[in-house]
Amino acid sequence: MIFIIWLNENEKNIVLFLNSQISKIFMKKVFFSGVIILSFFFLKSQPSQILYCKGNIPSEILSLATFKYSSDVGKIGKGKNKKTKKDFYLQSNFSVDDLLKSGQILFGDEMSNYVSAVGNEVLKSNPELQQKIKIFVVKSSDVNAFSSQQGYIFINIGLLAQLENEAQLAYLIAHEVTHFKYNHSINQFVNTDRLIKGKGKYRSLGIEEKKNVYYNYSKEDEFAADKLGLTEIFLKSNYNIEDASNLFDILLFSDLPFDELDFDTTYFDTPIFKLDSKYILPSTAAITTIDNYNDESKTHPNIKKRKEQFIENSLEYSNKDRLTFIVSKDDFLSMRNKAREELISLYIIEGQISKALYSTYLLQKKNIKDEFLSYAANYCLYAASKTKTYSTAKDSEPKYEEIEGKSQQVYFMLSKADDQDLCILAANKIWQEPKTANYVKYFNYMIESLITDMVVKYNISSIEIIKKNEALLDTAFKELSKEDYDLLTKFDKMKYDKKLKLFKESLNSKSSITLLMALIKDNNFLEIFRSVEAKYQTMPSTNTDDLTNREERILARTKRRAEKNKIKEPIKSLCVVNPNYEYYPSNSDEVDLKSSEKGKVRLISNISNSSKASSINANFLDAYYFHNEDVEEYNNLNIVVSWSRELGAQLKNKIYNEDSNQVRMMLFTQPLIDEYLNKSNTENILYSSVYSYGGDAYDKVPLKLLRLWLSIPLMAVYNLLPVTIYNAIKSTKQTQIYNICVNAKKGSIISMNNVEIISNDYNFLIKSQYYDYFQHLKLGKY
């Protein structure tokens, strides 16, 4: 694997969606729009319910990428391809640094300590190499691991969750270390550069031939890493060879959940309710993945080839006395369990609700009493219902026909379920769940939210449900109380039991209304239902059907003015998360990474000064701001970024009220963000980006040249010289500033601000803009 980290398809869609939303809001074309503000933390950060970093923040995370780059460039020495190697170190250092500073890296915790211990074990025979390697766990659901030229090995949670034993982890580490040892990243970069430019032996190649060369080169590296990782590193340890070979199967079936169990089709059933068979797949699709797929246009050889090479290379080695676990089996199982729980969080964040629900189900089968799993399972149902009710985005989840294996049942159930049915099913499940202290507030919120949908969206009335219950009681058959039942004779009891059975069957127990009728009988549930009804009955109708077009326009205009003139709650404190700065020296898409990093450090200082001047308390969550003892802040960064990512996913799925700028559902990471907000005494999060363009602000004719042409005749008229001079001092550079302020308690966007100025990004310019924006927030004029 080479260093490059890429966005997955889901995140690219978020970028595109928000681009369109924010363009609409600003009513004008915006180059990058507010999506960029959110997108940087879309990169990969996901939440941790249970995984927190500990100890001091490693220096690799805190130091500037520019320093790391300078240090690497110093090692290049003389020889060919020096410029390409410099480019490589520039890009690789900054990409890796982005990941390290993103908040999604784990360090100091039990999981990463264990993984490092396995790394040390497998590299025991090579202490020199051991010293150069540093292993990090990444909070990402991708089943992936990668190494960098700097000696960092990154292993995703998604992969750790799939592993079967320690030997597989050891071989995985050996593979990645081999990439580093033989400089695969930099060599491949140089070779690809030569390939693209058609240098040397690649001069006469066409595009297709070049592609083939590229893929083959990459595959050779992977083969080498497999082979040399095995022979030079893994086999020198005492790990079991056969156990390690199964790693390839994990990679082959990486799309599947970490286990295969039948999903219980009676999951939603109760004594009086049975899920309609139309929501149940009679049988799930078989898994058809093959290991001998066509790898022509792939960077890695197919699994069959890799397995065969592995076996061939390990033939002469005995597996006798080799161990599956050396560091600790218990630690491995604990690590994997934590990874699996973390994975559920990651899936939910990404909107992969069916996958999350199935994964939760798998773990609950083994550990039913875990309160986190209980919360996760119920949240999945809540989210599924909300998505069904409000989302207008197509394909928020894969279609069930595309899913193989036993998890297909969940996809089918959730996709086929009627909106109203799913709402009631979710409410019932959540209501029946024992509430734990940590999550009771959120369970109550979910219940109230689902009841709101029943009342507002599905027009269900408590009175009607109560009437239905009463109607049942009025029919010929009446249920007896226990005391009355005990007074019956033996034969009367037998007759009564038979009638009761028939009566229950006649209740049309496939209808979700049956569930609701049972729920309403619970006075606590009824109380909540009635309070929701009361709240929505007192709200004025927004029905504009009877208004003429003119009246509608007047009404809309009045509302907009009222909204604009409304003084809102002043903001006294906020959290500034990962402010972004990018510098483009010309109007091309090439960002100047070193200048951007310098600019970012300046930006943090400028925002800080502006917030102090406007008496707004700004708390910065950015690795550039941290010191090595700020591990709690690093964890907070992860929490906020995770929540933000989830918010972005909801925006992408359009589960969002455009009038109130608020998401329509509680976020899964809300408990975490609430904890952080309470500690930091703020409710608001600011996302901020500055883009500075060194090129001319006008594309068609360079502005300076245009001014020069105009200046010549102007200078002939002396008295117009001032105008010429004035034009000369006016900048042609451009600076764009984007701010989005979000109320994290409510999940609503409270302010969006976009400024484009024809000016260099002087510190004072940035400070004055931020001061002005903060003043707006402070005075409630947003």
């Binding site: 008295n719 006016k730 000016s759």
Partner: protein, 260 residues
């Protein structure tokens, strides 16, 4: 003095109006700036383009700025300088001191005039900038009084021109285009280019069709008595000022503060 009072009253009114104070303007909350500007007027000598094409007139200014909103600022300034006309005419005076015969004196006055004045301006900052940062357009009314210097007291010149003699007053409508920079979050550096035109149109046309020459040319004699000389100077200085006021370059440094 009356004018200073009027200017200050207007300024105070503007700064104290509630509407204006409701804006959260200024650089990091600093809504006022006080400081110094140097105003360099560069006049083009149309009649002497080959010999002495430019005249320069440097004037000091101290001013107080107030940023009423994100886009608008106000400034009140006091102008002051001594100026010397760039070249000399020969004056041929016939004078008589009691007890002496009539004499002719060829006089080449040098250091003659004081310049004092006041101005009030409205500054419009360009879109998306927040006052006082960035580029701006300024509309200004300037009142300049020019009088003979008190330093000629006791010199030969005082025979022909009284000390502190007020030659005249001119009003100028000034438009400026400039840019501000901030230094250390405390100081405002500004540069603008200005074009000012005498509000008396009859005087203004003299810029392009000058009556008087500014360079030395022998043989030019102005004859007459003291009263005639003063009239002549009045016109000559007026034309000179109109010329050097027409195109000006203003450099300033101000200190930003908020007294409240």
């Amino acid at each position: 003095m009356k004018y200073i009072q009027s200017l200050l009253l207007v300024f105070l009114f503007l700064t104290s109006s509630t509407h204006v104070n409701a804006q959260h303007s200024g650089y990091l909350g600093k809504k006022f700036a006080i400081g110094y500007s140097g105003n360099l007027g560069v006049g083009l000598n149309y009649k002497e383009l080959l010999t002495k094409p430019f005249s320069f007139q440097y004037t000091n200014k101290v001013g107080l700025q107030y940023y009423a909103s994100n886009r608008i600022g106000f400034e009140a300034s006091y102008w002051f300088d001594k100026f010397q006309l760039p070249s000399k005419y020969n004056f041929n005076f016939h004078y008589k001191i009691q007890g002496s015969p009539v004499q002719t004196y060829i006089y080449q006055p040098e250091y003659l005039s004081d310049l004092k004045g006041y101005s009030a301006s409205v500054i419009f900052y360009d879109k998306d900038y927040i006052a006082p940062v960035g580029t701006f357009t300024k509309l200004e009314i300037i009142r300049l009084d020019y009088s003979s210097s008190d330093k000629i007291q006791g010199t030969m010149s005082s025979l022909f021109i009284e000390a502190n003699h007020k030659f005249g007053t001119s009003y100028y409508a000034n438009i400026g285009f400039g840019k501000n920079w901030i230094l250390y979050d405390k100081f405002l550096l500004s540069f603008d280019v200005e074009i000012a035109v005498n509000t008396n149109i009859k005087n203004a046309k003299g810029i392009f069709l000058p009556k008087y020459s500014n360079s030395h040319s022998s043989g030019d004699y102005i004859s007459g008595n003291k009263y005639d000389i003063q009239i002549f100077y009045n016109s000559w200085v007026n034309e000179y000022l109109n010329n050097v006021m027409f195109v000006k370059y203003n450099f300033g440094i101000h200190y930003l503060f908020n007294p409240f």
